[in-house]
Subunit: 385 residues, 2 copies
């Protein structure tokens, strides 16, 4: 497999676009990424679009608006992991030697607000929706490891604090611990400010082989690992010990091996904080701390801006919002800009290795969804683990 580089990034401000079509705002992310890469008249060899609600050939509809047609275009669906999955397909197309220059777009218009259950997902119809599932995970962690509701809430405080510095975040305001705890209960112990809002958005990446990256003078950020996994199914209704922690764990282990790096090499990360407990579990599953120590990590400020390993410097899903297919690509836009030193007020000093983790789609059972883990490095990065 050949090296693959990220040579352009684009993103639109996340928020609500009730009066626009998906293609109207998604094309803006593409235009920015194309301009950032300095492609000129050069055309993509392939384009991959991640989304869940876009309807048929949504990627083609976006590129038609820009008269960027003729190359292979495909659309990928993988629930909350759709964006990361799209990048994995794009990475494969270039790493394989088949193509040299590809566009990867994540986009979503969350028209229906809530995510409707699939037919046959009886548990969801009976109330075991995503917030309820995450609430159960939080309860279990509190019981087993002594996680506190304040530690949980602190994840929201931290991510909103970063989001306040991000002009592309849906909610750009800080919140206090008291405000998080006092906000409306959604599925206890999770309160409103511990759940991601309903958000539209789009983000785009231009990725290239070493040869094309060199031609364009943009061999800055390399995809050191690209891993997609799905979970091992267990019925969470009948098996009380069921957990899907192993999904992110296995994806991360494979990514670290592919990159030749370990968790201690990571300087900045974006992880899947659709709910606060998700970020706590991600710390542990990705090896940022020992099992059960996630609450302590956020308490000690390790994962805040200015800490040893800042996590969700974009504001995360809690502050950016979580347009399903857009999220995985938006994470990588943030991390690429961190590695390029272009993250503005959110810049992590001397960031050389970054990790993106996105995960979802496991209702109603455990572990049947998907997780994508990408590790990005600056060209000169070598492992110190």
């Amino acid at each position: 497999m050949r090296d693959v580089f990220i040579i352009g990034t684009g993103i639109v401000p996340f928020g609500r676009y009730p009066d626009l079509l998906l293609e109207d705002f998604a094309k803006e992310a593409v235009t920015e990424a194309v301009g950032d890469a300095g492609l000129g008249a050069r055309r993509f060899d392939m384009a991959i679009f991640g989304h869940s609600n876009g309807g048929r050939v949504a990627g083609q509809r976006v590129l038609r608006e820009l008269s960027l047609t003729g190359m292979p275009i495909l659309n990928v669906e993988n629930a909350c992991a759709g964006g990361g999955t799209s990048l994995h397909v794009g990475w494969m197309a270039i790493a394989s030697g088949l193509h040299d220059l590809a566009l990867v777009v994540g986009m979503e218009k969350m028209e229906r607000g809530l995510i409707p259950p699939n037919p046959g997902e009886y548990e969801s119809f009976l109330g075991k929706t995503l917030p309820a599932k995450y609430a159960l995970r939080a309860r279990k962690h509190m019981q087993r490891y002594g996680l506190t509701i304040e530690q949980l809430a602190q994840v929201s405080v931290k991510n909103h604090s970063a989001g306040a510095l991000n002009p592309n975040a849906h909610y750009q305001q800080e919140v206090t611990l008291e405000e998080v705890l006092a906000s409306r209960p959604i599925a206890e112990p999770l309160t409103l400010l511990q759940c991601c809002p309903t958000t539209d958005g789009a983000a785009a990446l231009v990725i290239a082989s070493a040869e094309v990256a060199d031609q364009l003078g943009r061999r800055g950020v390399r995809i050191a690992a690209s891993v997609l996994k799905s979970g091992i199914y267990r019925n969470s209704s009948t098996d009380a010990t069921a957990s899907d922690d192993d999904l992110a764990e296995r994806a991360a282990a494979a990514a670290y091996e592919m990159a030749g790096l370990g968790p201690s090499d990571i300087d900045v990360a974006e992880v899947h904080d659709a709910f606060t407990i998700g970020e706590i579990l991600a710390y542990e599953n990705l090896g940022f701390c020992e099992r059960g120590e996630g609450g302590r990590l956020v308490d000690e400020g390790v994962t805040a801006l200015g800490g040893r390993l800042p996590v969700n410097t974009s504001g995360g899903r809690l502050s950016m919002g979580h347009p399903l297919g857009a999220t995985g690509v938006a994470q990588v836009v943030e991390l690429t800009r961190q590695l390029e030193g272009r993250a503005g007020a959110r810049q992590v000093p001397r960031a050389r290795a970054a990790l993106a983790h996105v995960q979802g789609g496991s209702t109603p059972g455990i572990g049947t969804g998907a997780a994508a883990v990408h590790i990005l490095t600056t060209e000169e990065t070598t492992s110190v683990h």
Copy 2:
């Protein structure tokens, strides 16, 4: 890129499954393909599912039913070309060296009957639906090249004749030329029996590297070419010369080059006959005859069972039915079985090279969709063109 082999096929009878969930019948196609490949306890490295209406993580829902989880699973949408696109992604995963054994599934439950227009497709809302578009293409061909309504209708007669021999076809009965012409007009000159029915279905392929194919004793059918393209956008409302013939033409040219074969090497083909005119245009775009000669080809029986180049021996979309994402995979199931000599009453003698063409998603403009062309060969095939 490494060689990729098809080592197992599965398909469920196409028809209507109003009382079943998508996963209920799709899993049966997977089970047949797994059994056909003789995988035993061996697990897939990756699984790719093509569909347009399956909802979120539909592939994961299917494999959960079979306790086949843990590998990377992704879902692909590309309208009528979704199945061919899925095979292209699977081919890429193995040809790249990343994986050795993959599952490719096309499936669809056409719950809504008709295909609703995407938001923003104003022409479709105003009546320029798929049947109307294909009717315009037919009119143009009649005007320019003298295609007759009898030649058009003969495509339906031919494909229903093949479908009558296929236990997996939705409609397994022959129709006469008179019946086709006398059936209800849908968008003149296209009558009801010249339009594909509304059909649910699923098909599955097991694909593998040479090493794994050898281990399982199944190095029979090779994917000699896998090509995905999208069209070059032109506004068909303002540009009377606009045509999307070049989409299949460019995809086929790239496939012939990759395979080192030409149109005259092909022994059997499945082409996109969602409407009769689609098959006529495909003959010309794929190089089976000169431009304008498509009507003559069907008139002379060249593409019928027993002809020099049988096309749509499965019964095609007209008789099999056309569950969007399922179609591209079902085509390759048919062709693989033809090359293996397992096509029963539809067997084409001495078939050594086969071509599958699937195409769609170009509403409302021209050429913004996708086309996938795959060429399959028996191991000993070499070009004679």
